[in-house]
């Protein structure tokens, strides 16, 4: 047996096929390794825990806040601990609440500012805003650039405001699986590099995109947008926030708490409309609104959601507008000039609908869509950069089909044939 034969025999005795290891998805395990590294008790070259121990930049202010936060936490626990679940909610309301993931961010001084929920084919999807300090108003942004070369965003509030807000979003796992969500996050354009880790949340581990800023002009060593995704029950959960450091995000993630439905409903601020209050709220919003003969309160679909006043307002106003647009469309087709004129007058009067007036006065608010449509009704078409477009098709954008009130004849026919409103978009 010569040296070459020895080498050949040795190679043949290799117990491992090279391709066996090549096939393994090592990248998928990268987050686990980085989480291990961060949890490693031995000193690391740039130990995140060392940064965590770093005193805050404003030492006195930080210390005072901590004390205040501790007192606030104690008050919350003592003050509400005993009667948290004592408030009686109807079984139906409890059932509706239970269609949400029932998560709260129980950080000292943090509260729910708003909730949005939508019915989807797969269940419900929604988002909750948690804030601390003063209420944070809505903002509108504009961006420049393109996805390939990167974009810049303008109009975001200052970082001191962004950091007081955390958003919790959920949607059915049937809509997007956790694996897909992770894959999608990995695929985003990351303006400041990709860095993913795993962090514990509740009784599972979240995949954390530690640099989820997609805009070139946002993000820096102390300005980062971080997002965590994980699965909870049948939902995909996403927690997103602007934080000065990864440790701050880890702290916020640690505040996520699973609660019972009564506690969850108790945490809703007055401006959030619970399913049981839906009709009363809708009636209030209809004050000063001219409604068509075809309108009744039951026309506004109550999907049993816990949601923001703005969302309820949108549903109420759009239901009325869709009914007027249906009358207008039918009148145009049948040549009923009186009905057409009545619809145009009513829609023009939307300039005085209190809810829309308030909405239009929000900082940086856009002109309400209903007003834009009303303005185009007398000419009979939607003017899109000099092109005449079907105004009914445009008005469908109010969500008329979703409200069970499709405007276009073909959509109405489909509704008649199927006997039920088309499924949500």
């Amino acid at each position: 047996m010569n040296a070459r034969e020895i080498e050949r025999a040795l190679a043949a005795a290799d117990p491992l096929g090279r391709e066996a290891v090549e096939r393994l998805d090592f990248e998928a395990m990268e987050g686990d390794l980085l989480a291990d590294a961060e949890d490693d008790p031995a000193a690391a070259p740039y130990d995140p825990r060392r940064a965590r121990r770093r005193p805050p930049r404003l030492v006195l202010a930080g210390a005072a806040l901590t004390v205040a936060a501790a007192i606030a936490a104690a008050v919350v626990l003592v003050g509400t601990g005993s009667d948290r679940s004592s408030r009686a909610y109807g079984a139906e309301l409890i059932r509706f609440a239970e269609s949400t993931p029932l998560l709260l961010l129980e950080g000292p001084g943090w509260r729910v500012q708003n909730v949005y929920e939508t019915k989807t084919r797969e269940g419900t999807s929604g988002q909750m805003e948690f804030v601390t300090g003063k209420p944070i108003p809505y903002w509108s942004t504009r961006s420049t650039g393109n996805i390939e070369e990167g974009q810049r965003i303008y109009g975001l509030p200052p970082l001191s405001v962004l950091e007081r807000r955390v958003e919790l979003r959920w949607r059915s796992l049937q809509e997007e699986s956790l694996a897909d969500a992770i894959l999608n996050r990995r695929g985003y354009l990351h303006a400041h590099g990709r860095h993913f880790i795993r962090l514990p949340v509740l009784d599972t581990t979240a995949f954390v995109d530690t640099r989820s800023e997609i805009y070139l002009n946002r993000g820096g060593p102390h300005e980062r947008e971080v997002a965590a995704v994980w699965a909870e029950g049948g939902d995909l959960i996403e927690l997103q926030g602007w934080v000065p450091s990864l440790e701050a995000f880890e702290e916020r993630l640690g505040w996520v708490t699973k609660v019972d439905s009564s506690t969850w409903l108790d945490a809703m601020p007055a401006k959030v409309v619970k399913a049981a209050d839906f009709e009363g709220t809708a009636r209030e919003m209809l004050q000063g609104v001219t409604v068509p003969k075809t309108f009744s309160i039951s026309r506004i679909p109550n999907e049993g959601l816990t949601t923001s006043r703005e969302q309820v307002a949108g549903k109420v106003m759009n239901t009325v507008a869709c009914l007027w647009m249906r009358q207008w469309g039918d009148a145009m087709r049948t040549g009923d000039a009186a009905a057409q004129a009545e619809a145009e007058r009513a829609m023009a009067g939307s300039r005085h609908w209190p809810v829309l007036v308030r909405e239009s006065k929000e900082p940086r608010a856009a002109v309400p869509e209903i007003w834009q449509i009303a303005d185009e009704m007398p000419q009979g078409y939607w003017d899109f950069r000099g092109h005449h477009r079907d105004l009914l098709a445009h008005a469908e954008g109010l969500g008329c089909a979703r409200l069970g009130l499709p405007l276009k004849p073909e959509k109405q026919r489909r509704q008649r044939e199927h006997g039920v409103p088309p499924p949500p978009d």
Binding site: D14, R18, G193, T205
Partner: protein, 182 residues
Amino acid sequence: MGPGQVEMEALGQEMAQARFARLYREEGRAILAYALRRVDDPEDAADVVAETFLVAWRRLGEVPLGGGARLWLYGVARLTLANLHRAERRRTRLGRRLAETLRTELSTHAAPAGEAAEVLRAIGELGEDDRELLLLVSWEGLAPSEAARVLGISALAARSRLHRARRRLRHLMEEREMEGLG
């Protein structure tokens, strides 16, 4: 610590993590293959990989740049293997995840048979240092000078030992062949 230093530290940490992640992506499979070839239970290999990379994280400043990184990691993996005691198994997240992946996806860790089994038996009779040198060259595909760096010996010593190890292995195999004929 001034804001500049804070930023530098944050940047340094980002860079360290980025380098560490790249090291894992580029060398993780090689280290796993190394470990799998030397353990009976693939789950032990998972722990070896996890532990090796944790050591790399702690001592990232010492990990050579370029091709030397893999040799350095082999050296750590070798020591980790030597210290591997099942009773003291340390289950990291990566170790758990990799073990699970290996359980479900790796089906080629079958017991060798025929001549391969004979070769493995003969290898088992070599001294530990000679055996490791031979396998690093044959299975990991290292040049003798590279295997020398893993083992912390000179290139000259590696070549000499390699020659001796091959001669010894040939002798052992010929002995077995004779026994078989007898």
